[in-house]
């Protein structure tokens, strides 16, 4: 400290009057700003976001090229595997982006600051969702351009329905993210690996690379109970020239609304328990 004890410079400065706004938007923006600062300061973080989707595309692009001459299924629609990989990655990145932004607050022991601020839980969750969308776009966009450049497969050929698929997958990603965060709130950072693992639990029955009717009948029932299977079936319908299937979209959307509402409820319950047990100040590395 340059100045001595008992001396503060307060008496010599004019004190600006503080102007407040009760806007929820500003608070949401502040949490996003905090995460964007973090991203901006570290290029490895941005590189990491783009790394896996791009590697996946390179890999599946070659597999597609091989199968084009060896599989009549792939020969009918060359982009079916690459598009499936990209859509699956949207779901994965959406979930991971949500969970990692939450974990970041725990790792940096900042969750207490947020909990003791005017930020409402729903504003916090909104900020995490927007951050998850930003992270997903940073990861996926370069991969879609790679697919066009190297394999002449364009995800954008799906047309307008792509936006609907994207929305449904984002929503499902947030749902899983909310459940993972609720679990971490309940049991602590010991469960953080669930942020990377949980999504793969639904991969086999999401019909990402194969149609639902390949699955055993009892698993087909489970698959149709997920919002993911109708999205991938819808994607295949477009690529195999059957057009956009509205019923599949509505099926997926309704399930998403249901699961998302449940996940919000579970998160808020976990948050309430954390407040009851005094866990919010304890959590951190």
């Amino acid at each position: 400290m340059s100045n001595s004890s008992n001396q503060t410079s307060q008496t010599t400065t004019t004190i600006p009057r503080i102007r407040h706004t009760p806007s929820a938007l500003i608070r949401i923006q502040s949490v996003m700003m905090r995460h964007l600062y973090l991203m901006r300061a570290s290029w490895p973080r941005i590189f990491e976001l783009m790394y896996w989707p791009s590697i996946q595309i390179v890999l599946w692009g070659f597999i597609t090229q091989f199968l084009l001459t060896n599989s009549s299924y792939i020969a009918q629609a060359a982009g079916v595997l690459v598009s499936a990989v990209l859509l699956w990655d949207i779901l994965f990145r959406a979930q991971l982006g949500f969970s990692l932004s939450f974990l970041e607050e725990l790792w940096s022991r900042n969750i207490g600051n947020l909990a003791v601020s005017p930020l409402r839980p729903y504003e916090f969750l909104t900020a995490l969702m927007v951050m998850s969308m930003i992270r997903t776009l940073i990861g996926i966009l370069p991969a879609t351009f790679l697919a066009i450049l190297f394999y002449e497969v364009s995800l954008y050929d799906l047309g307008l329905p792509l936006i609907l698929f994207f929305s449904n997958l984002m929503m499902m990603g947030w749902t899983i993210g909310l459940l993972v965060c609720a679990l971490i709130l309940r049991v602590g950072l010991g469960a953080e690996s669930m942020a990377w693992l949980t999504i793969f639990l639904i991969a086999p029955i999401s019909a990402v690379y194969y149609p639902v009717d390949i699955l055993p009948e009892w698993l087909q029932a489970l698959a149709w109970g997920l919002p993911t299977a109708p999205v991938f079936e819808g994607m295949r319908a477009i690529l195999f020239d059957q057009g956009f299937q509205l019923d599949l979209f509505i099926h997926s959307l309704l399930l998403n609304v249901l699961y998302f509402s449940i996940a919000i409820g579970v998160f808020l319950w976990a948050y309430h328990v954390a407040r009851k047990r005094g866990l919010l100040l304890q959590m951190g590395e």
Partner: protein, 272 residues
Amino acid sequence: MTQHAIHVENLSKSYDDVLAVKSISFAVKPGETVALLGGNGAGKTTTISMLLGILLPSSGMIKVLSEDMVKDRFKVMHRLNFSSPYVDLPRRLTVRQNLMFFSKLYGIINAKERLMHLAKELDLLELLNRPTGSLSAGQKTRVSVAKALINEPEILLLDEPTASLDPDTADWVRSYIKEYQKRTSAAILLASHNMTEVERICDNVLMMKYGTIVDQGTPADLLHRYSRTNLEEVFLDIARDRKKSANQAGDDASSKDIPRKPPHDDLEYGDI
């Protein structure tokens, strides 16, 4: 009638079978500094956490700026702030980014102006572009104080605000907080183990032990009551279950024997 900044009545908190805070009542007026004093596990941090709304009480009432903190805490959250060793500021953000983030979080429109003012006041100008994680303990404390004052709070809750600071920095922080209070009439509640700090800046002291308030009064009252020359000796008297001196026999309305250790004293009390 004076409006209390903080008003607590019969506040209790239990975790399963452990009673961390047991039916405490107190009030803090605007412009007043009150200390929660007690050993480890006395219930100080638990009490402050409940006042902040981050911990739900098991029973009792907490009113902050006349609002019920259990039901309506968001009506007043922008009017209070805190500093605690249990939370950090994001280490990878620079000091400037952290202060910008918190000023927006508290809804301050002229955030840059406020940030620069606090940076000048707290001697942070040269640190603004440094990552918060790279600062020394003293520098971090000054940044934490800036964060705690970013919204010019009417109520400031400080949990061990000068812990791990050298005497010069600690003294500087105390002076700054006192000057802030003089200017704004903020109510300050602080939990501390530092008796000198409490004697110097507090108007009232709540002595806590095993989750209850075992004694209270101004520092001068307590010194008189226990016939001691400093609060550290009073603290030890209470911690070691020594009775108050004859000085106060008969004239202490709140007089009661200091509770002896409860049967399950192996349990950690209060710390959350």
